[in-house]
């Protein structure tokens, strides 16, 4: 081993984590079925390995890229090289799903279904983890992370728009529901976003007002903590009756959309769940403002209002934003339950799919939910990092 200090691109030795990724990728592509074909949407499927599911050109391409990429992952290659290898494999898996679906769909067959099988999911998850690991080793800054997220969203959107995956089973489910899908997706996003915005508008001032008074502060946090323990399904359900009553009894309430059915109970329940983390994060953030900073602000003659707005809140912002990140991600997930109480959202597809025993319909609701939640987490994590940098500038 002459050149251990050599190029820097490839050092001798084996990377333990990368080897695990390489082994899992190899295993999933060689030993497990890549795709499943079914005569119709609820029939049992037949698993197909990579080489029987893909056209021969694609098999060669996938095989070549994997054969080249796996050693780079397993050996101690430089982080950019590992990232490139993992990203190439991930991209090719995404393309393979579309190619296989086109290859396996007989011309004019409207009932047959082609969907990814265990091998594809395992390989895809592993490749995604390898990309994440490659990124983590490079420590990209918040702006770059947001740019990468935008690139990923753009590429996926483009593939969906051009109909690249249209022969996949999930998109067959979409095709027969394209009119309602857009509406439910919008309902879902609006429910999650507005409930969090309302929670911030109520929770932050409540926390600021209650924080200096020990009894109020304990009472506020304890009450909100109890609300968190009510199971989401029950809270959504319990709100139907009172909201129906308000809708009937209070003049003008019905015109605002307050009713026992529809999105109102879902909105109120999501708001209730979001209040505690936002209020608790505000209290914790304000508590953490260093004492000398407060003292200095008082020393230069700032009024209580100025201190709050110009010193304490800006310093507490990263903590408050972290609380908002937690509830936004949580509410994107919980909004699925709205589908169970007639509130709409992507949960409609999830629960329809469950009751029809149609896994692809479940996926049609669950995949966008997961994508939205994860995207929101990455975006807000970057925003928290940015605000932390800004808050640090304020404290000399």
């Amino acid at each position: 081993m002459g050149g251990h200090s050599a190029t820097g691109l490839l050092r001798p030795g084996v990377d333990p984590l990368g080897s695990a990724f390489a082994a899992l990728l190899g295993l999933s592509l060689l030993a497990l079925p890549l795709m499943t074909t079914r005569p119709n949407r609820i029939a049992a499927g037949t698993g197909l390995t990579a080489w029987s599911a893909l056209p021969s050109g694609a098999v060669l391409l996938l095989g070549g890229v994997v054969a080249l990429g796996l050693p780079l992952l397993a050996l101690r290659a430089a982080p950019p090289l590992r990232l490139a290898a993992a990203a190439a494999i991930l991209l090719l898996l995404g393309l393979s799903a579309g190619w296989a679906a086109d290859h396996l769909t007989l011309p004019g067959d409207r009932y047959g279904r082609v969907s990814p099988d265990a091998g594809w999911w395992l390989a895809f998850a592993t490749a995604a983890l390898a990309v994440g690991d490659g990124l983590a080793r490079l420590r990209p800054g918040p702006i770059l992370r947001i740019a990468l997220l935008a690139l990923l969203v753009g590429a996926t959107g483009l593939a969906l728009r051009t109909g690249f995956w249209n022969n996949l089973s999930v998109l067959r489910e979409y095709a027969s529901r394209s009119d309602t899908f857009g509406r439910e997706l919008r309902t879902h996003a609006v429910l999650a976003l507005t409930s969090v915005a309302a929670a911030a508008a109520l929770g932050i001032p409540a926390a600021i007002l209650a924080r200096p008074v020990p009894a109020l502060r304990t009472g506020l946090l304890a009450t909100l903590n109890v609300v968190q323990t009510i199971p989401s399904m029950a809270l959504f359900g319990m709100l139907i009756a009172p909201l129906a009553w308000i809708g009937r009894a209070v003049p003008g309430a019905a015109a605002l959309g307050i009713a026992g059915i529809g999105a109102a109970p879902a909105f109120v329940a999501l708001l209730a769940y979001a209040l505690l983390p936002v209020a608790a994060a505000t209290v914790a953030g304000l508590d953490a403002v260093p004492w000398p900073v407060r003292d200095a602000a008082r020393g230069v003659g700032m009024t209580a209002r100025q201190r709050l707005l110009q010193v304490e809140l800006p310093l507490a912002l990263p903590a408050i934003l972290t609380g908002i990140r937690i509830v936004l991600v949580q509410n994107i997930g919980l909004a699925v339950i709205a589908g169970l109480v007639g509130g709409g959202g992507l949960g409609v597809f999830v629960f329809q799919g469950i009751s029809q025993n149609a896994g692809d319909l479940v996926l049609l609701g669950a995949l966008p939910t997961v994508a939205m939640a994860t995207g929101a987490a990455v975006l807000l994590d970057a925003v928290v990092d940015l605000s932390r940098g800004r808050a640090a500038e304020r404290v000399p």
């Binding site: 323990t229 029950a234 359900g237 319990m238 919980l334 339950i337 669950a366 994860t374």
Partner: protein, 247 residues
């Protein structure tokens, strides 16, 4: 809330016990919420049976998740696993953004209906908070303390069992508490995939427009969650005292 006097917890526990054993006695309380002549108390399956099923499911899932997650956290904090640590931490962080309902829904096409997909979703979802807190607990130990343990001639194994794990125990327990409370709520949703849990009562109420059932199911699950949360906090305080922290 965690500071409520023990008497209040005992009263809540007793009330829950009486309600589960003899729910019929509470019928007048729920009567106003039941439409028309429908029975105010869910009777298709005894509430006690459902509560026991619910708790067993959550307990099995949380214990499995705790065993796996603590094992993984110990492995990731050994010298050989150090390289993996930042990666493992970010996986746990991103993994927790997967909504529990979505995890449960995705388990159905793979594992079918009933308690199995619910159990698997609960285990998967419970892993992450326990793993994250166990990592924080094991990784955040004072290096001087570890050096002292090494200086006393303790082997790696002795250090792990007598120093690191006891000191990290309060953190690990708080992760398990979080997993159990989330699991309790998620198991409710398990009823949509035909697992026999207290969610059955709520769903039946939603389907028939019987708010009394929704209330019953919701209140029992909430009481269980509050009691488990309080119980764990009590044990955590004990563990923290033994570890020499002030709480």
């Amino acid at each position: 809330m965690s500071r409520a006097p023990p008497l209040a917890w005992a009263a809540l526990l007793a009330l829950l016990g009486v309600f589960l054993v003899a729910p019929g006695r509470f019928a007048p309380l729920f009567q106003p919420f039941a439409p028309g002549d429908t029975p105010p108390i869910y009777a298709q399956t005894p509430l006690l049976t459902l509560a026991v099923n619910h708790l067993l499911l959550v307990a099995a899932a949380t214990l499995t998740a705790a065993a796996i997650a603590v094992g993984l956290a110990v492995a990731a904090t050994r010298p050989a696993g150090r390289d993996v640590l930042p990666f493992a931490r970010s996986v746990a962080r991103i993994g927790q953004t997967f909504p529990p309902v979505a995890v449960l829904a995705l388990a159905v096409p793979i594992f079918g209906f009933g308690a199995v997909p619910t159990l698997i979703a609960l285990v998967l979802y419970g892993l992450l908070p326990i793993f994250e807190t166990a990592l924080t607990g094991l990784d955040g130990l004072d290096p001087a303390l570890m050096e002292a343990a090494r200086g006393m001639g303790m082997t790696d194994r002795q250090r792990l069992l007598r120093v690191e794990l006891p000191l990290a125990l309060p953190m690990i327990l708080s992760g398990i508490r979080l997993a159990a409370v989330i699991g309790l709520a998620t198991a409710t949703i398990g009823s949509t995939v035909a697992a026999s849990t207290l969610g059955e009562v709520i769903i039946s109420g939603l389907l028939t427009g019987n708010t009394a059932y929704v209330l019953q199911g919701g209140l029992v699950v909430s009481a269980l969650a509050l009691l488990i949360d309080a119980g764990f906090r009590h044990v955590e305080r004990g563990a923290a005292r033994r570890a020499g922290f002030r709480s």
